[in-house]
């Protein structure tokens, strides 16, 4: 196929239609650059296609493609654009729901908020660009997802980001971390969309392949929702925004390969962002939509003009003919191939209404933004690319957008699973069963016994004074401080204070203050709660559980702000899909997520799959990241995490779990032993649902003063955070836990009654389905009643105090530490001082 025979290849379909005059120009099809140098690498190979795919293309066209056409197929059929490995699996996701107006398949999902308004959301990964150029990689990640929301005709109102890096004491990881945060800030702040939430995890698994997932949320009036469809034949096709340059050519193909030693050389594949242009594009497009000039609109993201034209035409069953001479170019001498594949940022494809050409141009002119009429919608189903009179490419739009041959993957169970599961976290930690440990601590005089203080009517006694020296603190206080300063748990104010999180005047729960960001929707009395969540360690150790937990935890987070979880979007970050182990992980993560979405009633409205997240054979953890939308029906009932009133009851909704199993894959295990191993916490989705319903009903009845879900670091870290985030005068707690044995109502299932329990698990275990809430003592019976009717355990575990966290188990003090000391550990990890210190010095080297 590499011989340059047949210089006048005719388009197969055009011939059938008798349009023999339409000849596609030969550009030396089949001749690869390698081959010119005497090597035998065919052009399709160079562009990342397989031989089977190439044959399919020849079959579709009825001839061999030219170089431009081959390039167009190669990006559109890349994993990044086509989902050819993941598509069959994604069908498992539930996508229907009473609130879902538009599900997967469009630029973003649309969820009904009320009669008038809808919420638009989507998230996307930008992992590969970030690995080679963190600032621009992250910035253009923000830009791309914002344009996806814009393409629905919605005003972008919030950005969230979920980030994964190697440990921050590794210089490279720290460089990437700082670069990504400044990139998100530099772009997001400028376009005036608040960055309101997200998460940052640090683990060796992401050292050479960081993850950067960005979510954007928009608001649109339901009758103004725009679609990415080129639906009316003859309509003008505009390119609005920046001019087209050579940046980012083959970005999509780059994103569909493993990174290697020479990936730095791929830096030219990373696009450069211009947030000012984006801001203008936002205002221009919203005005065009509002004035009713628009039939269809689509972002030019991966694969640029090729994808936006092919997809809008394919969705509408039409064709598009464009003239490359009309495309404003940034540099001279660009070939059709380069123009069609350029991923220059800040460009939108606008299918205008016929007869409105002048008005559209006028709006663009007023905003000072480029606007070029590049073509028309046709009825022939073809994407026809001309340069003047010469046809440079002519391909069925549907073939590009939808006919990629699905890759049937082989799955194989990775051998590491059995190995990891065989490791017992309890023995790795050297943990002793609870009763013997408490007895030992008591006899060593390191703690004192006192009466249990969990009953609301119990008389709170004088807490003993905290010891001066850290070494004299009760042992688990030191463990708590260690957990609080672990990079994954530590306060992220250094990150989110670099983001403008207040612009647009809607942020009713600020970053860091609650389990999810809360934005009021002006004029409705309602609010939306947004979060991004995903624990890669769990998914690595038990993919199906990890998938389910990612959804459940995201839902629990929005519930903890008083919101009803309604829908998700997601990013699935995985290693190389050509490996059976990856697809085994993938299929199970998807299954777990699908099940959790089904049970919790949160359909999937779209998302993104990012494969090939491995560098030099080192894969990342399979990392599902869930973006969750919740709705608060009355914004005044929103909740934050911190304690608000001294004397409030601290209650736990969900099981008090002391079983050793909850330490598998935990942050505590990692902090203490450096290991990510064991069987991770398991989730009972039925219990999860009951717990969430209890919390939500209590919040909606106005019973709760605060709520915070238990996640990394377990109950102890959750309580510590509630103290540190508390209002002045209510920044402490006195907690009395009962060992599972002495509890009147068995918190664990009957069959586990004789299972040993561990102090470590009670404090730091990451058992699921748990929320710490506070409420007025008078309201405790009402909360218990809700728990009873919903079938979720509710236990009063202590009281809010002015300062300091004091935890005892069966009367034995296990934690006693001042709030100031906790803050020092928690806030000090990423403050200015720590971040300006050279890597390897100071707190990172411990």
């Amino acid at each position: 196929m590499n011989t340059s025979r047949d210089r006048d290849v005719r388009n197969g379909r055009a011939q059938k239609r008798g349009q023999v005059q339409d000849r596609v120009r030969d550009q030396g099809q089949g001749r690869g650059r390698g081959q010119e140098q005497g090597q035998s690498r065919p052009s399709w190979w160079e562009l990342g296609l397989t031989e089977a795919e190439y044959r399919e293309i020849v079959e579709i066209l009825g001839r061999e493609p030219n170089w431009t056409e081959l390039g167009m197929f190669s990006v559109m059929w890349s994993e990044h654009c086509s989902y050819k490995h993941s598509r069959p699996y994604l069908k498992l996701f539930p996508t229907q729901g009473s609130r879902i107006l538009i599900g997967p398949g469009e630029n973003a999902g649309v969820i009904r908020l009320d009669e008038r308004w809808a919420v638009v959301m989507k998230c996307e990964s930008h992992n590969h660009p970030v690995a080679v150029e963190p600032y621009q990689g992250a910035a253009t990640g923000v830009g791309g997802i914002v344009r996806d929301i814009l393409a629905m005709g919605a005003r972008p109102v919030a950005i969230l980001d979920s980030l994964r890096f190697g440990p921050p004491d590794d210089p490279r990881s720290r460089f990437l971390f700082q670069g990504v945060v400044s990139g998100i800030a530099g772009y997001g702040n400028c376009i005036g969309v608040p960055t309101v939430g997200g998460e940052v995890y640090f683990d060796e698994a992401y050292a050479s392949n960081p993850l950067c997932n960005v979510m954007c949320v928009g608001l649109v009036e339901i009758d103004r929702i725009a679609r990415a469809r080129a639906s009316e034949v003859g309509s003008p096709v505009f390119l609005v925004g920046a001019s087209t340059g050579r940046d980012g050519i083959h970005g999509a193909t780059f994103a569909s390969q493993e990174l290697g030693e020479d990936s730095e050389a791929s830096r030219p594949n990373v696009q450069v962002g211009d947030p000012f242009m984006e801001k203008l594009a936002i205002e221009t497009c919203l005005e065009l939509v509002e004035r009713g000039y628009v039939i269809g609109i689509q972002d030019m993201g991966a694969a640029g003009i090729t994808s936006s034209c092919a997809e809008t035409a394919a969705r509408a069953g039409t064709g598009i003919e464009i003239d490359l001479d009309k495309v404003p170019l940034r540099e001279s001498g660009m070939t059709p191939y380069e123009i069609m594949l350029s991923e220059s940022q800040e460009r939108m494809l606008v299918i205008g209404k016929s007869g409105r050409e002048n008005e559209i141009a006028e709006v663009c002119r007023r905003w000072g933004i480029g606007c070029a009429l590049i073509g028309r919608v046709t009825d022939d189903g073809m994407l026809t690319v001309k340069r003047g009179e010469i046809i440079e490419a002519r391909v069925p739009a549907k073939a590009l957008a939808e006919q990629v041959p699905v890759v049937l993957s082989r799955e194989s169970r990775p051998s590491y699973i059995d190995e990891e599961w065989s490791r017992d976290p309890v023995s790795l930690l050297g943990a002793k069963p609870g009763p013997s440990l408490l007895a030992e601590l008591a006899s060593a005089g390191k703690t004192r016994s006192g009466k249990a203080r969990c009953e609301p009517e119990g008389e709170p006694g004088e807490p003993e004074k905290e010891p001066e020296e850290e070494k004299d603190l009760p042992r688990f206080s030191r463990d708590l401080l260690k957990c609080l300063s672990s990079p994954t748990i530590a306060d992220k104010a250094w990150v989110y204070s670099q983001y403008d999180h207040m612009v647009q005047n809607n942020t009713a729960v600020l970053p860091g203050a609650g389990d999810a960001a809360v934005l009021r929707v002006k004029g409705t009395g309602k609010a939306i709660a947004l979060t991004m969540d995903g624990n890669g360690r769990y998914a690595y150790l038990d993919p199906e559980m990890g998938g389910a937990i990612a959804v459940a935890e995201a839902a629990r987070n929005v519930v903890s702000t008083g919101a009803e979880p309604v829908a998700i979007t997601n990013c699935l970050n995985f290693p190389n899909p050509e490996k059976g182990e990856t697809m085994w992980q993938f299929s199970r993560v998807v299954r777990g997520m699908a099940l959790a979405c089904e049970i919790l009633g949160t359909p999937v409205t779209g998302g993104n799959v990012s494969f090939y997240n491995e560098t030099l054979g080192k894969p990342v953890y399979p990392t599902p990241v869930v973006g969750m939308l919740g709705i608060i029906h009355d914004v005044k009932q929103r909740l934050s995490s911190g304690f608000v009133r001294e004397g409030d009851i601290v209650a736990l909704i969900g099981p008090l779990d002391g079983r050793g199993a909850s330490l598998g894959g935990s942050e505590y295990l990692k902090v203490k032993t450096g290991l990510v191993t064991g069987k991770p916490p398991q989730i009972d989705l039925d219990v999860e649902k009951r717990v969430q319903r209890t919390c939500l009903r209590a919040a909606q009845s106005g019973l709760l003063h605060s709520a915070h879900d238990c996640s990394e670091g377990g109950l102890a870290v959750t309580l510590a955070e509630c103290c540190m985030l508390g209002r002045p005068g209510s920044r402490g707690a006195e907690i009395s836990l009962r060992s599972p044995k002495s509890a009147p109502e068995r918190p664990v299932k009957e069959e586990d009654a004789d299972e040993p329990w561990f102090v470590e698990s009670l404090l730091f275990g990451e058992a699921q389905s748990r929320i710490v809430v506070t409420l007025h003592p008078d309201d405790m019976p009402a909360l218990s009643e809700i728990g009873r009717t919903e079938g979720a355990p509710v236990t009063a575990i202590g009281r809010v105090t002015a300062d300091g966290l004091w935890v005892n188990i069966d009367g034995f003090t296990v934690i006693m530490v001042s709030t100031a000391k906790m803050e020092e550990a928690w806030r000090g990890r990423f403050d200015d001082k720590a971040m300006s210190r050279k890597p390897g010095q100071g707190p990172y080297s411990d």
């Binding site: 702040n189 400028c190 801001k279 203008l280 989110y496 647009q504 005047n505 009021r520």
Partner: protein, 236 residues
């Protein structure tokens, strides 16, 4: 009275100001496109926050050449009230309405958070409803808010009471630790000699409701309205 909010390409707090004035204060307000040259009918012009022209080159450096700025100059010279917030303050500095310049924040990063401010001067249209030395809370959100001027300029500014807000702690203490961005003398807001042009880095439009964490910004806008109605009362 009528407020006007200038919209430069890249302004992004224009709609927030509009919301604060129309929906919270219930006042008359209109947007003013940056090419407009006639400001008749307006009583107070707001240059809002954002990234005018992307803040490429230097913050406010391009916006000062916008056609509207000549009109704003005439408006101010005629005694009209001009309030520059964040990027608006930066533009006022670049355009020479106010003395001094902005440097990058001392930590070399963007900073968005609530800060405490001490009211240094309440004898002007913008802060007349605050007590002198009252401590208030407002959010900041900027990369270039490190106010700088040479010592003679600062002395003159201080001597005439040109400093309106200073970054402080919750008790009104002024110290390097309470200075988020490195500004000389913890200066957060500056007023011109005539007392009708105020530039401030904090965002009053972001704290006009308890729901969003505070109402001190609302009192700033109410000051303007109150001052204006008082003056009109006296004049007529």
């Amino acid at each position: 009275m009528k407020f006007g909010i200038v919209v430069f390409p890249g302004s992004n707090c224009d709609q927030d100001c509009y919301y604060a004035i129309r929906d919270i204060l219930g006042c008359d307000v209109d947007y003013i496109w940056h090419t407009v040259t006639d400001l008749r009918g307006f009583d107070c012009i707001i240059l809002p926050g954002g990234f005018s022209y992307g803040d490429y080159l230097r913050t406010g450096a391009i916006a000062r050449f916008s056609p509207v700025m000549k009109a704003v100059k005439d408006f101010a010279d005629g005694g009209g009230l001009v309030l520059g917030i964040c990027n608006g303050f930066q533009i006022l500095l670049e355009a020479g309405f106010l003395p001094g310049a902005m440097l990058r924040n001392k930590g070399l990063r963007f900073l968005c958070k609530y800060v405490h401010l001490r009211v240094e001067n309440n004898k002007n249209p913008f802060t007349c409803l605050f007590e002198e030395h009252e401590v208030i809370r407002m959010p900041i959100a900027h990369f270039d808010g490190n106010y700088y001027a040479d010592s003679r300029t600062i002395e003159a500014l201080e001597a005439r009471g040109g400093v309106v807000f200073r970054y402080s702690d919750e008790k009104g203490g002024i110290a390097p630790e309470t200075n988020p961005n490195g500004s000389v003398g913890n200066i957060a807001a500056v007023i011109n000699e005539a007392g009708n042009v105020l530039g401030m880095m904090p965002h009053p439009e972001r704290c006009v409701e308890e729901l969003l964490g505070g109402e001190d910004g609302r009192r700033l806008f109410e000051s303007i309205v109150s001052w204006f109605s008082g003056r009109r009362g006296v004049g007529s």
